[in-house]
């Protein structure tokens, strides 16, 4: 399959990634995408309709835990990692929807 990597694709992907790219970085990214995705033609060598996808290496199923509460972890241990916080919460600039 041929996918032409365009400037628009790079710009859209940067948005999905929450990254700002300089023009130069965009160009570099275009080139990089083209090289790596160029190898994708090696994947054309099989009939995809007859092969199931593998998402996990192991075939384990039903890995479950009992519904029993653990000890409280301690809010301060987590909040102390935050770049901005109040006494009890993480703080971000006012979010408007």
């Amino acid at each position: 399959m041929e996918t032409k990597i365009t400037k628009e694709i790079i710009a859209h992907t940067a948005k999905l990634s929450r990254l700002e790219l300089t023009e130069e970085e965009e160009k570099g990214m275009e080139k990089h995408f083209a090289s790596v995705l160029g190898w994708v033609k090696t994947l054309d060598a099989f009939d995809a309709s007859s092969v199931p996808a593998t998402a996990h290496i192991s075939d384990a199923v039903n890995v479950l835990r009992d519904d029993v509460p653990g000890e409280p972890f301690g809010r301060e241990k987590l909040l102390s990692c935050a770049p901005e916080r109040s006494e009890d919460s993480y703080i971000v600039p006012r979010v408007v929807e």
Binding site: A55, V61, V63, D67, P69, D88, S89, Y90, R94, V95
Partner: protein
């Protein structure tokens, strides 16, 4: 008349009432101090891994059984990726193409007519945190992050706000009776998104909008009505409805579009590598199905058909599973069905309702209620003093009989003793006694009242009335 008819589909989110969250052993508890029910897993720290809560799977399957869904024998987990400050990992673990339940239906009655609303699916996912907007910024609380959430998606089978609200009420009742969710709107444990489009009969469906995150039956109704008005106006003025995500502002009663969110709606779903699939055998499903309690609809049927209660009573008794449980418990412990129903509908519901707006707190067991009713029946106490007994045993294990003794409420049924008291009171009130003899029956209650006052209400009122009449008639 425009001739446009709304077509409505709902996505309903219900929080499961498990002890712990979906993927970590933090408590699933509403109303805690911000961020106290969090750990590195639900706060999305680097390196953490999820482990699935067995109960959450069982509850979702049970919910599916309650509304006749097909239970998937194989289901899996997917990541739904998007950035938002209430989502610490920046993805929501959800189920994309293989949900736990598919199909199913809910029967509703609107304007005396029964209708069926089909479900498309129920899947299990994790809830997001809570944002509190203030002047200095937005505070983020992850207590709700990772709480197990069922998403129930309907087919577009509803055509009015009434039908949508009736569906929500019935779904909430089913889930409450199934014991899987409290469905408390106040606490946000049930929330709905409304998909709505307008079209003329016979024409293809119009462009739909999605109004997100409505958290009361009232706002669902108002949002639907507002959106019907808005889309109708747009169409009638020759405009086009734009497919968009909207919010409804409860304060203004208006909806508004969330601009700029559209191109970000590429969720890049892919299989969650950190969670293994869920495989259910027929035995598993059978076992979960067997754990399903009797639902409201079935109970109502039993109450009217087997216990001979009026439809109104059956409706009242099934307003809440705890109420129905209490009633059934009392009947099982030997109480007369109608008497128990009356007592539950008057005394218990009055007392229980004060405790919380959302639902009812039931503070006594069926056995306690049956015994209390028996005490009233046998004349050990009267109805009025039964309230004092109720107050005392509420949320305790004390038997009503012990409470009656402790409160000294046991009623005097000794006719000789009562007659003596009556004679004293009649003698002390010659005026009213004369009135009776002249034919004024009303004074009877005056004498009974005096007697009750003198004995602090502990006289059998039936015996008292009879004896007052007897003495006055002599």
């Amino acid at each position: 008349m425009s001739g446009y008819v709304p077509t409505i589909g709902l996505e309903v989110h219900c929080e499961l009432k498990t002890e712990t969250k979906l993927f970590c052993s933090c408590r699933n508890k509403f109303g805690s101090e911000p961020n106290t029910n969090t750990c590195p897993v639900c706060a999305g720290h680097p390196g953490v891994l999820p482990v699935l809560n067995r109960k959450a799977v069982e509850y979702t399957v049970r919910a599916g059984c309650a509304i006749g869904c097909k239970i998937s024998r194989y289901s899996k987990w997917d990541r739904k990726n998007y950035f938002y400050p209430d989502l610490p990992k920046a993805w929501q673990t959800s189920q994309y193409d293989l949900p736990l339940c598919t199909g199913g239906e809910v029967k509703i009655t609107v304007g005396g007519e029964e209708k069926t609303v089909r479900l498309n699916r129920i899947h299990l996912e994790e809830d997001a945190g809570k944002l509190v907007h203030g002047a200095g910024g937005t505070a983020v609380d992850y207590n709700r992050c990772g709480v197990p959430l069922m998403e129930c998606v309907t087919e577009p089978d509803m055509h009015s706000a009434d039908e949508a609200v009736a569906f929500l009420e019935e779904l909430a009742s089913v889930f409450r009776f199934a014991g899987v969710s409290d469905c408390r709107m106040q606490e946000g444990s049930i929330r709905a998104d409304v998909n709505l489009s307008m079209s003329r009969p016979g024409e293809p469906l119009g462009t739909r909008t999605e109004t997100k995150n409505l958290n009361s039956f009232r706002s669902v109704r108002r949002a639907i009505e507002a959106e019907i008005r808005r889309q109708t106006e747009v169409l009638e003025s020759g405009g086009k409805v734009v497919q968009e995500t909207r919010r409804f502002d409860d304060a203004t009663g208006e909806g508004y579009g969330m601009r700029g969110k559209e191109d970000a709606q590429d969720y890049r779903y892919f299989p969650e590598p950190d969670l293994m699939p869920v495989v259910l055998s027929d035995d598993d499903v059978g076992r979960i199905r067997a754990s399903l309690p009797e639902l409201a609809r079935d109970r109502r049927k039993r109450y009217t058909e087997r216990l001979g209660l009026p439809a109104y009573d059956a409706e009242q008794l099934t307003c809440d599973p705890a109420v129905a449980e209490l009633f059934d418990g009392a009947v099982n412990a030997g109480a007369n069905a109608k008497k128990a129903a009356n007592y539950v509908m008057s005394e218990i519901m009055r007392k229980g309702k004060t405790a919380g707006e959302d639902g009812i707190i039931v503070g006594i067991s069926g056995t306690q209620l049956a015994e209390l009713l028996a005490l009233v029946d046998k004349g050990e106490i009267n109805l009025v003093s039964s309230r004092d007994v109720l107050d005392r045993i509420w949320l305790t294990d004390e038997t009503p009989s012990a409470a009656v003794d402790a409160l000294g409420l046991r009623q005097n049924n000794d006719e000789g003793e009562i007659e003596k008291l009556v004679r004293d009171i009649v003698a002390a009130n010659p005026g009213p006694a004369d009135d009776f003899r002249k034919g004024n029956e009303k004074v009877l209650s005056f004498f009974v009242g005096q007697l009750m006052k003198a004995t602090k209400g502990k006289t059998n009122p039936k015996i008292a009335g009879e004896l007052v009449r007897k003495v006055l008639s002599e």
